[in-house]
Amino acid sequence: MNAQRRSPLVSSMAFLVYFFLYAPILVLVLYSFNASRTNILFEGFITSVGPLQMQGSTVVQSPCGPLHWFCELSKNREVMNATQNTLTIALTSTIASTIIGTMAALALQRYNFRFKSFSQGALYLPIVIPEIVMGIGILVLFSQVFGFINSAFGLVGNDRLSLGLGTVIVSHIAFSVPFVTLIVQARLHGFDKSYEEAAMDLGANELVTFWRVTLPMLLPGVLSGALLAFTLSLDDFIITFFTNGPGSTTLPIYVYGLLRRIITPQVNALSTVWILVIVVAVFLIQRLQQTED
């Protein structure tokens, strides 16, 4: 669409929606500087820098000044663990789901085999059922299977199979793969086979052709899929909620836990840091895109 007469009605509605999207985020960020520890009312910024001083539930002075809660955050072991877990899970599941999702897309787009329609349908399933149904199913599966193995082999204590990092990663791969497949399939849709034929004509066997010709040309689609898988994993709550165990807490789970207990501005500080990271990442990606063009 080209820029025709821009309706002021549409523009103002658009801005309102943008405002709606960002207002809560701004509130979040603002409260991460809240002097009040109970974080119910906004009581202003912490202005004086120095050893910690409180007045009731208000922080009057802090070694980090207005950034008090960020400092508290950096000392928070649980947050660091949760962050590490979140990233580990996201990276592992992204790499795995991208690889097998791309393979699946190639299979569906270029080959005919028995159970092809069944496979395509099975891949749509995670998209059309609510996450909680999948989460419950996996929980039920693992509890029954682990329970059985534990009692059959007499495993106790630390040897017992239980929910943890492994179960979360495996679940994340399961829900990411359909999305990766869908995206790569779309990219394969108009893919001209003559490039691969040219490579084979020049002496490259199937593997070399894939590595040096097909994959580089497919890369934008594969990267989009990987990015989506990463996002889905990073942000996932419901499935992680049902498949995680002690020691595999992710950030969303951690925040949820906090919200049901004590809410200090530390949560806001965590949110602000997260938002900042995202904004910086987006900025960098934009820069990268611009240099590519």
Binding site: M1, N2, Q4, V10, S11, M13, A14, V17, Y18, F20, L21, Y22, A23, P24, I25, V27, I40, M103, A104, A107, Y111, F113, K116, S119, A122, L123, L125, I127, V128, I129, P130, E131, I132, V133, M134, I136, G137, L139, V140, Q144, I173, A174, L182, I183, A186, H189, L234, D235, I238, F241, F242, L251, P252, V255, L259, L270, W274, V282, Q286, Q289
Partner: protein, 305 residues
């Protein structure tokens, strides 16, 4: 042997899709089957499962008690929960479409260079953690939250007494939260389908005598349908299964199917009942989605073409 593989294209395809199928079978199909089996079971000690064949869970879900199928035993509690989830999902979807469309339209009409930035502006909230976004609304809607704070300040200026509004822990709060959560999921597909419209179609419409409104209703809107369809699938289905938003913003007042299922597995420790509820949820969602896609398709045109 390699030559055999080379000749058998069908085998190549099957091998490529094998890892994916292992995951789908193991983590989707088998779990669902297991859920089905368990839903016919009975609650065992310590929240375990006794594998039998019993319709008790389903009887309870439709409102009766096992062993008492008369109207006097009827309690519509669970049916209400199901209905509430359904209506909330519909309301959310409609509101999201109404809010997303102008924004998508705006971005689609913006100069090409600006569009990436505008899109990223939409994506930033999406990439901000989901739980955090709900928390933000808690802060805004609660009794001593932002809205009440601002309103109270205004009232003070005008010299009026102000009773803070009870916004949190109401169905309205949950709806607002849901809409906020899923808005970006509708903006992107609608934008994609609007962007694909060939500009010469607008010229053709104008040439044939259509003004802006007419062009929008007869050309733009129908052509952006795939986007709305895809967006609906991305909104309706997750909302049906949501429990976090209703938990944090609705408290005890608003219980959806998701909350019910979650509680069965955690607090009440009755995985059999939870499984039954989970399957009913899935069935409801699939039925609605089936009729919906029969009429409107999947909106996959926005991905291909």
């Amino acid at each position: 042997m390699l030559q055999q593989l080379r000749e058998n294209k069908s085998l190549q395809g099957a091998l490529l899709i094998l890892p994916t199928m292992v995951f789908m079978a193991g983590l989707l199909i088998i779990p669902l089957a297991l859920t089905l089996v368990i839903s016919f079971g009975q609650r065992g000690p310590d929240g375990g499962v006794i594998f039998t064949f019993s319709l008790d869970n389903y009887i309870r879900l439709i409102g009766f008690q096992p062993g008492c199928l008369q109207p006097s035993c009827f309690d519509s509690l669970y049916l209400q929960i199901l209905w509430r989830s359904l209506t909330l999902a519909f309301q959310t979807t409609v509101l999201v479409i109404l809010l997303a469309y102008p924004l998508s339209y705006f971005i689609a009409r913006a100069p090409r260079k600006r569009r990436t930035t505008l899109l990223f502006l939409v994506l930033v909230p999406l990439w901000t953690n989901f739980v955090i976004r709900v928390y933000a609304w808690m802060m805004i809607l609660r009794t001593q939250g932002v809205i009440n704070g601002v309103l109270g300040w205004f009232a003070g200026l005008l010299g009026l007494t102000f009773t803070p509004l009870e916004m949190l822990y109401t169905p309205g709060a949950v709806l607002v939260g849901m809409v906020y959560e899923f808005l970006p999921f509708m903006i992107l597909p609608i934008y994609t389908s609007l962007e694909k419209i060939d500009p010469s179609l607008y010229e053709a419409a104008a040439d044939l005598g259509a003004n802006s409104l007419r062009t929008f209703l007869r050309v733009t809107l129908p052509l952006s349908l795939p986007g709305m369809v895809a967006g609906t699938i991305l909104v309706f289905i997750p909302v049906m299964g949501m429990f976090v938003v209703s938990d944090l913003l609705g408290g005890r007042q608003v219980i959806l199917v998701g909350n019910l299922i979650q509680r069965q597995f955690l607090d009440a420790r009755d995985p059999t009942f939870g499984s039954a509820a989970s399957l009913i949820l899935m069935a409801m969602t699939l039925v609605v989605t089936y009729f919906y896609t029969r009429k409107f398709g999947f909106g996959e045109e926005i991905v291909t073409a």
